[in-house]
Symmetry: C2
Subunit: 170 residues, 2 copies
């Protein structure tokens, strides 16, 4: 499995970027970057009684207002018990509204209240500021590559979820 062989030509291009050392650097870059990625919203959240899980829920409810609990469950990839704990506090605190479905009354449709939108905005602003700075420093070509690699790294179900969200957004 371990690919320590010397680089060899393959369909006309160098495969230097696929050496174990390159892959390990990619792995470490992913680890360190993800820390930066979550650092700013984490700082904001630590002042409240909320954590990263609340951020994720609020983000995706804002992204797809009226989404059902089941939908959110699939996107977040957690158990309903875990999500429910988070949703309960968000609803109690008046950040999220849960409305019984019209067509199917078993479903609950989730919306951010104004208060919820305010929190989402402050978290998003912090996270976007870092992403914007990174994107600007790296330039459009690097950003395109960044997204291509990330997409290829997802599980296929998550690729679908990601693509669906992309299309929703624009």
């Amino acid at each position: 499995m371990s690919d320590t062989r010397a680089p060899s030509p393959y369909s006309g291009e160098s495969l230097l970027f696929l050496t174990d050392e390159q892959l390990r650097q990619g792995i470490e870059a992913m680890f360190f970057a993800y820390r930066g990625f979550t650092a700013d919203p984490d700082r904001i959240l630590s002042d409240m009684a909320y954590g990263r899980a609340h951020h994720r829920a609020v983000h995706f409810i804002n992204r797809a207002p009226g989404t059902t609990v089941n939908n959110l469950l699939n996107i977040l990839g957690v158990t309903k018990q875990s999500l429910n704990r988070v949703l309960r506090t968000l609803i109690e605190d008046g950040l999220v509204e849960s409305l019984v479905g019209k067509a199917d009354k078993r479903e609950r449709h989730l919306y951010l209240t104004d208060k919820g939108k305010t929190l989402e905005q402050s978290l998003s602003d912090a996270q976007r500021a870092r992403m914007r700075s990174a994107f600007r420093d790296a330039g459009p070509d690097a950003v395109a590559g960044f997204r291509t690699v990330l997409e290829a790294m997802m599980d296929t179900e998550m690729q679908r979820a990601y693509t669906r969200l992309k299309e929703t957004g624009q």
Copy 2:
């Protein structure tokens, strides 16, 4: 803070890639990709009494054999109590060896045992396989962009740690 203005020309190139929508897609890509990134090692670890924290410790001990506890602490960005719990189980289970420093006897130098190397290898193989597949699909230019953006997204201290590790490796 929120950058919703229409794209405008800036030093000759379009800034379309810096719209809020593009940034949000980048954020979501990061979220979904990180799930994929950790999925394979997590599956292996869930069969044992270990978790992601053990993976990280084992990874960086393997990367820099003989590293001190303090060193590892800085790289991982957790408290000594948190790391200690993980290290203790790894040492008890004979995956990691802790040797008192020769020059400074307060320091403990950490090494993987053969058993530890075996686990590290199996975790790395799983994670590298996904990274390799993603890199191959995306191609060398995308990979370069991927790493450029990730590096720009790190905190400056982490950039230094990352660069140091890169130079160590090759």
